[in-house]
């Protein structure tokens, strides 16, 4: 593997008809990176195609250039270079676009996921970058493409989404330095932040209401449990991703150390998620029920009804806080 941005830039300079693709279930970093690079290469006079296997989330309809993106299959013959952003393995291109790679098109990979074996002919992988958008920003500079507002909005969106608005551990001094340069352009920070972070579908609010109505906090204040029946889940129409996020409401309660989320898979199987904040090893705890995971986030599936399983697990959890 090579890992030299100037070599990658040279390979891109030589192409005439590049296609740029991100990953399945596109997020802000994937879309912002595709679009910033695509709009940038357009300025260099390239005949650029931007594509996604999966539909584009409506949330990101504000991104400049997004209406030019193709969703679904394309024919490999039309292109002389495949540029893949934010994907650590070819499968992440999705079934509609994977044939591009399999056709043998010369491939450039630009990514920030840890990856010792990137799959391109030319690769640039920097895992210290908080977002692939940071890498695209450097690449545009290496290509001599000056920033403008449209590019800046796409790059800003890439970085702000993958850092959770500069709150995650991946946020570095370099991240802020790059964003400082982007904000020299006319970026409506407050409006974008509202669109990206504040808006919630009604199904998520209904789910939240249903889940919070089951909230119980132990007498010592350190254990919070929530639960969700199959019936409620169906009635609110929430998706898996929305459901998984609910445990954070229990975890984020002041003084709570351990949060548990009991979710009915069917009448005799309960999926449980565990989270801890500072000192309790929930990986060890999940193992007692045949599950596992990490020290601060784990899970298991236990046979029984919702109330049976909850009683059993909460009882077992009392031992966790002894002496605390």
């Amino acid at each position: 593997m090579m890992n030299d941005l100037s070599v990658v830039a040279e390979s891109i300079k030589r192409c005439q008809r590049p296609i740029i693709c991100g990953h399945v279930m596109p997020d802000g970093d994937s879309l912002g990176s595709v679009l910033a690079l695509g709009l940038g290469l357009h300025l260099l006079g390239k005949q650029v195609t931007m594509a996604s296997s999966d539909p584009l989330p409506e949330l990101y309809s504000f991104l400049p250039g997004i209406n030019e993106m193709i969703v679904g299959e394309v024919s490999p013959e039309a292109f002389d270079l495949l540029i893949v952003v934010d994907c650590s393995v070819p499968d992440r291109l999705g079934s509609a676009l994977l044939p591009l790679y399999e056709s043998g098109l010369t491939t450039v990979v630009l990514d920030h996921h840890v990856n010792d074996q990137p799959f391109g002919d030319f690769n640039y992988v920097r895992s210290s970058a908080a977002a692939t958008g940071e890498i695209i920003m450097d690449l545009l500079e290496a290509l001599g493409i000056p920033l403008n507002t449209d590019l800046a909005i796409n790059l800003y969106t890439a970085i702000v989404t993958d850092t959770g608005s500069f709150r995650y551990e991946n946020t570095t001094s370099e991240t802020h330095r790059r964003v400082a340069r982007l904000l020299e352009y006319d970026i409506p920070v407050a409006r974008l932040s509202n669109l990206i972070f504040s808006e919630q579908p009604i199904s998520q609010i209904r789910l939240l209401e249903a889940v919070l109505s089951t909230l119980e906090v132990s007498e010592n204040g350190q254990l919070a449990t929530i639960s969700l029946s199959r019936q409620t889940q169906e009635s609110v129409g929430a998706n898996d991703q929305q459901i998984e996020g609910m445990i954070n409401y229990a975890r984020n309660i002041q003084n709570v150390e351990v949060a548990m989320f009991f979710r009915e898979l069917d009448e005799q199987r309960i999926k449980i998620s565990f989270r801890s904040k500072y000192y309790i090893d929930v990986n060890l705890f999940a193992k007692k029920f045949g599950g596992g995971g990490h020290v601060r986030a784990s899970g298991c599936t236990v046979e029984g009804t919702l109330s049976e399983v909850k009683d059993r697990v909460v009882k077992e959890a009392q031992g966790l806080f002894r002496g605390c």
Copy 2:
């Protein structure tokens, strides 16, 4: 008024026993600014006192130096300079510390609120600064005090809280440039963000549950209403600030343009808050009920029972969406 940071820096260099104070109901910017300047002046060999009229929120107990802060009254005789940060008027010092100013102590004011008439003998006010912390950072530089991790954590907290994690309109290129410099020190970004933005008191979660259980969305999806009875309010034990924030849950629902929050003050008086997102003038709407405010945020108080008032106002609101 003068507005020259070097003049302010000179006045501070000359003092020996400064007292540094922020505002009542101290927030992250006020505390972080007091502490960064206090710890900094300590490095210059000054005999520094840091004080607050109001108790310090437990949330901020992680701030380096916070245990050295005095809460409550102090005697003016002990000091040769009063430095007031993040306060636009003397009253914001709070009743315990206002006598310091009234005693005639030479006063320095450092602030980022819009203010044509700052009250100090030496003033530096820059309303383009996202946080007073940005000004303190520049002042430390003007005083020749090098940054260290403790100073950086206080300054970072000041800036991150007053910009809502870089999401508010006040966030500029300069904000990110300063934070890039702060992150060169050992700041646990993810841990601080969790402490500052994620943790919620149980009362707030109980309040959220109660309020969401009243959520109604109109047939066209554009109007969301929530309400809170006096009884529920008392049973969950939430404070005014927590209650006021609840309208955001209604406002942030996808496709909702107008949110209304009906809150029972007593059996015959209902306080209503209105929010709109993009195009409806809720200031105009509130005026119909004797209230007012801004185009996107307004309110009024209406006589009647909770259900009567809600019916009347929602009916009136139907006119807002005609033709949309």
